[in-house]
């Protein structure tokens, strides 16, 4: 079991990724900006964490990431959308 935190947890790739990681037995935290997305994240099996990383101070970010083994930077993933 790995403790994984996904930054950009409500993105299209992240929402496909989350259940896969949960299925593999990892403990997943998803960072989202909009608290209204919390229920959707919980439904995928992850722990929602509401934060806007772009506006956070280094010590706040450090607090957010503490205790995690692996960070997935999924915000703004991919070179645009083909479809």
């Amino acid at each position: 079991m790995t403790r994984i935190i996904i930054v950009g947890g409500h993105g299209k790739v992240a929402r496909k990724l989350t259940p896969l990681l949960v299925e593999d037995g990892h403990q997943v935290t998803s960072v989202i900006r909009d608290p209204d997305q919390s229920a959707a994240i919980s439904k995928l099996g992850a722990e929602p964490s509401v934060a806007d990383v772009a506006s956070m101070q280094p010590h706040e970010l450090e607090g957010l990431l503490r205790g995690q083994d692996l960070v997935v930077g999924a915000a703004g993933a991919g070179g645009g959308s083909a479809v």
């Binding site: 299209k12 790739v13 990724l17 995690q68 692996l70 703004g76 070179g79 479809v83």
Partner: protein, 122 residues
Amino acid sequence: MDAAAAAGAERYVMVSYFGAGPDHGVPPENDFYAYAQAKTEADAHLEESALKWTILQPSALTEGPPADTVDVQASDAGQVSRGTVARMIRAVAGAEPAAVAGLKIPFNDGDTPIDDALRHVR
């Protein structure tokens, strides 16, 4: 990334894009320029960090069916299903950290099983 290192998270998987790099070639007047620059700088910063990093660089994203196969040999960006990208991230997360640390992997949809692709990408 600095915060990740300071917080004790040893591993970082960055989802970048196919083409990111100092020679991304996107002209400053293009709408995509700021994104290309930001991703390029983030990748470079991560590469210099003490973290065990893996940088995934999927090409243009589609809603095509997810696959357990990819093409990591292509020199040009094509397209790749978001579901396949998710499976690549999952494979990296589940891999032995040392086996995937320091890999930067541009990829498209393709025919190579993800596990083989990760082994042979170096």
